[in-house]
Symmetry: C3
Subunit: 324 residues, 3 copies
């Protein structure tokens, strides 16, 4: 009975599990983005929408992530759908008593049309998809594994700004070793032609050379730089991430590098073009000065977050076959 779990989408989302960005080819991405555009229009229009009316989605969050939870919940409810919210089921009796993930999934699939799961362990989404007999699973992050909707919203944000995902120049800065968002977005960009990516990170937090080789093979042009002075003026986007103190054994080393990895007004003025966008996967602490929030090129707390909701509205509607 267990079905194949990670199926290529090929423009047909109906009842498919959404577990990984690798399921998407270019036409599927473009289809999703076009539905997301439509969702934005629906959201800005003030009349209620009933596309998901009558559907039940279980939000099964084994770790509370209020941002992702809120984004999915709002996405579903904006379309008239209902959610069953299960947060931290592992603290509850059944799961605490040792119930397997398989049994938990089969229980909740009896109640719902879709399960959106967040789990701290890599591979959990795959396991859940294997367990479900009848309904699809959307992976809302499985530990250091994947978080496909985050990658999709990042790609969509770039696509919406520039009208394309090829022939772009981007800068990834900060911690390029840890954090699945950097890896996922790079993988997504490598699907498209003629993209050039600059990588700027402390030596210790570089993108692994194995991954660089793989991305180059897929067609990305990759340039590692060691100073902000080498940031290309024509970059279309900066994807900024946090350099965390706890990654360093040598605190002196940390103190030395940390200042180079903060976006300041000066840095923007010197190195950023007028039409670029500044992205961040959030939460943002002090690696982007708060005065920069008001700069219209900063999208991290604006369109990037809203795009996440539109992408999720589109994805849920497509998977539940309520829009085609």
């Amino acid at each position: 009975m267990p079905k194949e779990t990670t199926v290529r989408i090929k423009e047909d989302f109906k009842e498919k599990n959404i577990l990984s960005l690798t399921q998407f080819d270019i036409p599927s991405l473009l289809k999703l983005f076009s539905v997301a555009d439509h969702m934005q229009l629906l959201s800005l229009n003030s009349s209620p929408v009933d596309i998901l009316k009558g559907t039940i989605t279980t939000l099964l969050f084994y770790e509370p992530s209020s941002r992702t939870f809120g984004s999915f919940a709002a996405a579903i409810k904006r379309l008239g759908g209902a959610t069953v919210d299960i947060v931290n089921p592992q603290l509850n009796s059944s799961v605490a008593k040792g119930e397997t993930l398989v049994d938990t999934i089969r229980t909740f699939e009896a109640y719902s049309d879709l399960i959106i799961m967040r789990h701290p362990e890599k591979g959990a989404a795959q396991q859940a998809a294997k367990a479900a007999f009848f309904i699809p699973i959307i992976n809302a992050g499985d530990g250091i594994g994947e978080h496909p909707t985050q990658a999709l919203l990042d790609l969509y944000t770039i696509y919406k700004k520039f009208g394309r995902l090829d022939n772009l120049t981007g800068l990834f800065a900060g911690d390029l070793l840890n954090g699945r968002t950097v890896h996922s977005l790079l993988k997504g960009l490598s699907l498209f032609k003629n993209n050039t990516i600059y990588l700027l990170s402390p030596q210790l937090l570089s993108l692994p050379s194995l991954e660089i080789t793989r991305l180059k093979k897929c067609g990305l042009t990759i340039k590692e730089i060691r100073s902000e002075k080498e940031i290309p003026p024509q970059a279309n986007f900066w994807y900024w991430t946090r350099v965390q103190k706890e990654r360093f054994k040598d605190l002196e080393e940390y103190e030395k590098v940390k200042k180079s990895f903060v976006v300041t007004q000066t840095l923007l003025k010197k190195y950023a073009g007028k039409e670029m966008i500044l992205m961040h996967p959030l939460p943002r602490l002090d690696e982007i000065e708060s005065s920069i929030d008001a700069d219209l090129r900063s999208v991290y707390l604006r369109s990037q977050v809203r795009n996440g909701m539109y992408i999720r509205m589109a994805l849920v509607s497509l998977v539940l076959n309520k829009i085609t």
Copy 2:
């Protein structure tokens, strides 16, 4: 003002508290089952249903039970109703400050049309029903007390399979001393004529002889057996429960018996009929081998769970007088 709380239903559910299986006679059970059948049809049909639209049900869960919570939440939302979800109110300020259950119930009845309460203490549901001035209470489990919707879904599962609740042969196996589901289901079956029940448990976890006497008086034929070899081939259902290590003082004793209380392929092949169903109240750990899940006679993670939702859809609709 406080009304009588445990009133016999007599086929009229309107605004009655649902606290105990003892409120049900045969015609009331059959009426509920017929509405549950209707609810299944509504659920399988893809068009949204608005039977409970405009109603507010408070899910007041003093212990988080994600299975029961999810089942009630989905039941209500599938019918277009809304829930106010209050989980662990005892950790919140008012209740933590010492507010009585009476005051909490009166607060939430001001907001809602129905309160569904889960509580760790026996008798809490009765207390809540006494406190409420205007709205009904459904007991979603009060500690070692009652959990009427669990018993109702078990009875409904048997009824749906065999078209009757009399003239049946059943096996109850595992821990027959603890766990309210066994006691409730036996009580329910004793309402009907000509049922024969086999009890198979470790000596230590037998059904109390007082209860056996009482059930016999009600008309059940009861046979205690001490080995799986005595399982009757004509049993219509097996109701399997977990033998928990922590019930044994003597671990050697536990190790001796535990293997006899696991459903294996061999056991099924030898002793189970082709038309029987294998039930379990869940959570299931290793007392049923996972390979058996695929056997169509296994209903515990399939129709038994779904039936729980249909029964709850029916019960809430009847109590709120939205269906007759």
Copy 3:
């Protein structure tokens, strides 16, 4: 971009933040009360209402307060609106990692039409309102700061009973030093002409003389009394609050006073008029004997709680401009 946060309402609630009772003048209060009356009618009528259909409100509760949470959630859902429930976000990853309140607010405003926030720190609601670019914030209590909807429901309860908020006599008893509800209600009453307030409290828990002076300046007549024997027989309402043990360093002192601050049948019989109402901000412990709940003059677990829901229904509808 940050807008002015505490704007006077002047009968136009549309998209205004509701942070403090000081935003209300008499016509605005009366407008709100008239809409709340309408909401009561809608609630008692059994047909579903869709005034808030298509709207998303985030309930962002940094401390779980099941009463206030439940009241807002029910208010919104009764009108067909949807909520995204975020309880204890500070325990989640983003906020735990140090995300600022500003960033959290901007994230949730991307998903919703309104944020209703509860926070343990005074001033947090102001901060949130400053952070939000596009949507209004309703303060559901910010520590020792304000809790405007509590004050509004208290005023509404008195207004509904007597048809006016001027020419009233009221008694405030118990702890008049701590607890924002007393201060807010007094402030509200001082807007109206010719009100006389009696204050009865242990010396240690008196209303600060500075505040008395201020209230007198606003036109309230204030009389401090030291014994229940001085309670005026013509009082229209008693607003009773708890004298908490932990406020006293000297336990002997506490034991001496505590009995004088309990509402008993005897006290009511001796000092309360027939048409007065007995109010309490809840939770109530033993400072009002439970036998008094049945007295129709006791409104604390009846109309006072329900009025909270009607006021919140009215406020959300007005702020979201769904009713005018």
